[in-house]
């Protein structure tokens, strides 16, 4: 009998991807919950992984079907493998409540009573859920002559331009028109000449016929010489440049790496900045990030050094703010940039630095859209000097947000609070 053998392995992969997407949409809330639960315990390295496994519990999508409640009635069940018991014997029930109730005979296996299951999300999906609903507050479009961004806008038809911009349709129409116009005159004359030629031939007028024949040839030649395209035909599309209002932003990341910050505190600070970094790079196409770390002096570093190298020293907090202002004046004029700052510290400061700190902090607050300060304290020591200074500024500057973080698992929730649209600005949390 005829049979076929087909190799299906080369068929396009991911046949079930649309279904997977639909499930993720329906289970959105449950997936979000699972991602956020997971995010509390992520190591810094792991946040950047290509694939994240998450465990969903009860996605609210149990597929209910009419079924019997076997546990509520007396069941007579056939079992296999009875090597021990005789008629009338009594077996104590296993304590886990497993009785002889049989599994349902349906084809579907979805109702097995496990709500929880695990699967993998891609990196972008995972980060998408992580940062959903978060945004940089007060991001304003900055219109500026120095702005480099333009879009092209269609502005009409002109008669000069480069060949790729040629509007073929219009050109063709115009050329058709010109050719028709030129032909009409010549063809009319050609008809006359031919009629006259015939008459002349009939009449036997050699001279006239010869002249007319010559004329006929000339006309035919002229007809053949009408060019397909002439300069007057050609038309080009024209585009103008229209300046784009840009939303440009710069985020200053200020991290305290002084000796008073232990390993744990530095880890918490780094987690916070890692989240911030990922958030900005996945959510915004154009955000500059400036990394400044300080102990008793401040220095601008690159991302590698910021996250991974060790450094220590005394503590002068105002240095990082001073550095920030220097860089800002040099590279990020406030007319064209939205300026943001996020600072992490343990609140400990060189005692005589308080005034300078207050001064520089005030200057920063004048120019930023939003300033987020998180204080990392693994032991509750009461208000630190830095905290008190910022607190006093917070009343006048509602766009200063302050939070305390004690554990690594608190970083993500605090991060979410700081960057939710309702804003953490102006509020304090203890």
């Amino acid at each position: 009998m005829t049979y076929w053998v087909i190799d299906r392995r080369q068929a396009p992969k991911g046949r079930n991807l649309p279904n997977r997407l639909r499930y993720l949409e329906r289970a959105r809330r449950a997936v979000k919950r699972a991602v956020r639960r997971q995010a509390r315990n992520l190591a810094i390295r792991d946040v950047d992984k290509d694939e994240q496994r998450i465990t969903i519990q009860s996605d609210g999508l149990a597929e209910i079907v009419p079924e019997w409640d076997y546990g509520q009635c007396v069941n007579d069940v056939v079992v296999f493998g009875n090597f021990m018991f005789d008629r009338g014997d009594r077996i104590p029930k296993p304590s886990a409540g497993g009785s002889g109730g049989g599994a349902g005979g349906r084809a579907s296996d979805s109702g097995e009573g496990e709500d929880e299951f695990t699967f993998s999300l891609g990196k972008d999906e995972f980060l998408g859920y992580l940062f959903e609903g978060l945004e940089l507050p007060d991001l304003k479009p900055r219109d500026d002559e120095a702005v480099e961004e333009h879009t092209r806008k269609y502005a009409g038809i002109v008669d000069t331009g480069p060949p790729p911009m040629m509007d073929l349709r219009r050109t063709w129409f115009r050329s058709s028109g010109r050719r028709v116009a030129l032909r009409i005159a010549l063809e009319a004359e050609l008809e006359e000449v031919r009629a006259a030629l015939e008459k002349a031939r009939d009449a036997g007028d050699e001279e006239e016929a010869g002249r007319l024949a010559k004329r006929e040839k000339e006309i035919l030649k002229a007809l053949g010489r009408i060019p397909m395209f002439d300069d007057v035909d050609v038309r080009y599309r024209f585009y103008t440049k229209v300046p784009q209002p840009t939303t440009r932003a710069v985020m200053f990341c200020l991290m305290d790496v002084s000796g008073s910050m232990g390993e744990k505190e530095k880890d918490i600070a780094k987690r916070f900045f890692m989240l911030l970094y990922l958030f900005l790079t996945t959510r915004y196409a154009r955000v500059d990030i400036v990394f400044i770390r300080h102990h008793h002096t401040a220095e601008e570093v690159d991302e590698e050094k910021f996250f991974y190298s060790r450094e220590s020293g005394g503590t002068v907090v105002s240095t990082c703010l001073e550095k920030m202002l220097d860089i800002q004046k040099e590279r990020y004029p406030e007319e064209s940039w939205n300026i943001y700052a996020a600072q992490a510290s343990d609140g400990d400061n060189f005692e005589y630095d308080a005034n300078r700190l207050a001064k520089y902090a005030e200057m920063c607050l004048e120019i930023v859209q939003y300033f987020a300060y998180i204080e990392i304290e693994s032991m509750r020591r009461g208000s630190t000097s830095v905290w008190r200074i910022y607190e006093s500024l917070a009343a006048k500057h509602p766009h200063l947000a302050m939070r305390r973080v004690a554990e690594a698992s608190e970083v993500y929730p605090v991060f979410r609070e700081l960057f939710s649209p309702k804003g953490g600005a102006g509020k304090e949390a203890v």
């Binding site: 046949r15 279904n19 019997w68 007396v74 069941n75 005979g105 579907s108």
Partner: protein, 528 residues
């Protein structure tokens, strides 16, 4: 085709190739033609990778299916389990279609490919081709076309009416699909034919208009002529007006009771849009296609496993496969018919009956009784003794479902072999009582109880529509039977009511009626 005096194994080593697969197919067919004589359909073998097999799992094995989140969820679960090594995907999967489509895993060894070909391409194929349930209820040459139509229709509806609306309609229909079967095949009328030539169902075709008119009319008065007397009326129209009788709430009838709930909803729901009706119909028809497979798991797998073993043995006897291959296949067969035991694994696992094990055992037992019966067999199955095993095999394949196969042919030797017993589990007691064991006294009870296990109603409540007050508040009434105190779970009752209310659009009631007393045990409503 192989012929000639000296035979040698037609392959060696673990790796398969397309030539070897073709040869395996031909050899298996040859043995079937020569010795078993089972009518078959043409086979289409498809080699797939693991992801494609997981795909198949997620969508009932259908190569084409409409898009739905439940399929995505099922796929994710399966795929993750497989990738973490917690679950093995089957070696094969086969579709009841014409030609029969089988999926073979690319990771199988050649020995397994051979086993699978014997199992699926001959065994399952023979079952689908000859079994009466499949012959009368499915159209295998048509199913793929219908699925394509269904998928395209749903895509079209999603674009036109929005994905959310379509998805919700499918969700509600899914809740009710297992209770939407025709337990007995019956004629449904003209509109049961499926029109797949039109790319999408037009919103108001003639049939649709007729249906809508009928629903509207049902809600209006009957149009009985008050001038004529009852006798005249009856003579003219053949319709006799109902007499006055005591009304019990549950006897408002629109049509006769309808066990196929989605069918009833599709034809009679006052509030569904035409496109929603078509979706309800699609869900119903896809399940109707799968329904026979649910009823014949034991018989089908038993047949396929028996055929696999038979063909493999014959190939070994003729030296067409070597010892290593034969042992590998036997090993796999032994694995697949493994049956957990009460005393070793506990009551829960003892009650978990492996359909492969049971089915294979019954078939092997009947074969034995035909060929080498003993005195007990002659007592139990006198008709089988001395019968032509080929004819009996075809009879077993063709004329039974699981319930009837167990009822008719479960013999004492099989019951003893598996040490069957009946346990009584009373939720109010702390002990399980052993009611019957596999001895002369217990055989009959065991056979009947095990057969009842394979009744559809054992797994799925017999929820049926009994009527609707179309002239009143359009409420819908359903009923199911309570046997031995077994009721529906509260959550599934609520889920069913909710889905019904969504699809019907008016209040819905479900009552539970006790089988013995006929009394209503409980009644719930939704949307009241």
């Amino acid at each position: 085709m192989r012929s000639g005096t000296s035979k040698r194994p037609f392959f060696e080593g673990p790796s398969w190739s397309f030539e070897k697969i073709c040869e395996a197919m031909e050899l298996c067919e040859e043995i079937n033609d020569r010795e078993l004589g089972l009518p078959l359909r043409r086979n289409q073998i498809e080699i797939v990778n693991a992801e494609q097999m997981a795909d198949a799992y997620a969508s009932f094995g259908l190569p084409v299916m409409y898009r739905h989140w439940s399929i995505g969820k099922s796929f994710l679960k399966t795929w993750d389990k497989y990738c973490r090594g917690k679950m093995n995907l089957a070696y094969e999967m086969i579709l009841n279609s014409d030609p029969c489509i089988s999926y073979l895993m690319e990771t199988n060894t050649m020995a397994m490919q051979l086993a699978v070909i014997a199992h699926a391409c001959i065994g399952h194929n023979a079952f689908f081709t000859n079994n009466w349930l499949f012959k009368t209820r499915t159209q295998p040459d048509f199913i793929i076309d219908y699925l394509l139509y269904a998928r395209n229709y749903i895509e079209w509806a999603e674009e036109k009416y929005g994905q959310r609306a379509v998805e919700r309609t499918i969700d509600w229909a899914h809740v009710l699909r297992y209770v939407s079967v025709d337990k007995f095949q019956r004629r449904r009328g003209r509109d049961e034919g499926v029109d797949v030539d039109s790319k999408q169902k037009p919103e108001t075709s003639d049939e649709m208009e007729a249906m809508l008119r009928r629903i509207k009319r049902a809600g209006e008065s009957r149009g009985v002529n008050p001038e004529k007397s009852n006798e005249e009326e009856e003579e003219e129209t053949g319709y006799s007006p109902p007499g006055v009788r005591e009304i019990r709430e549950s006897s408002w009838i629109l049509d006769s009771p309808e066990e196929n709930i989605l069918y009833y909803i599709e034809k009679n729901s006052p509030s569904l849009e035409p496109w929603q009706r078509e979706i309800v119909r699609i869900v119903r028809l896809v399940w109707a296609y799968m329904y026979p497979q649910v009823l014949t798991k034991v018989a089908n797998e038993g047949t396929a496993t028996w055929v696999e073993r038979y063909i493999t043995n014959r190939l070994r006897e003729e030296d067409l496969i070597d010892n290593g291959t034969w042992l590998e296949i036997l090993h796999s067969i032994t694995d697949v018919i493994f049956q957990p035991e009460l005393t070793t694994h506990g009551p829960r696992w003892g009650a978990h009956i492996n359909p492969y094990a049971l089915g294979y055992a019954i078939l092997a037992d009947v074969e034995r009784m035909c060929k080498t019966p003993d005195e007990e067999d002659a007592r139990w199955f006198p008709d089988l003794v001395g019968s032509d095993w080929r004819k009996v095999l075809l009879h077993l394949i063709s004329d039974f479902d699981d319930q009837s196969l167990v009822y008719e042919y479960l013999g004492p030797k099989v019951m003893r072999k598996f040490r069957m017993a009946i346990l009584c589990d009373d939720p109010n007691s702390e002990e399980i009582v052993v009611r019957e064991i596999a001895d002369d006294q217990g055989y009959d009870k065991i056979r009947k109880t095990l057969a009842a296990r394979y009744d559809y109603e054992f797994s799925v409540p017999d929820l049926s529509v009994i009527g609707a007050k179309m002239k009143g508040d359009r409420s819908l009434y359903l009923r199911y039977t309570v046997r031995g105190g077994r009721k529906m779970t509260k959550s599934s009752l609520e889920g069913a009511l909710h889905a019904l209310w969504r699809l019907w659009g008016y209040p819905v009631f479900i009552e539970a009626v006790d089988a013995e007393t006929g009394k209503t045990v409980e009644r719930f409503g939704c949307g009241t």
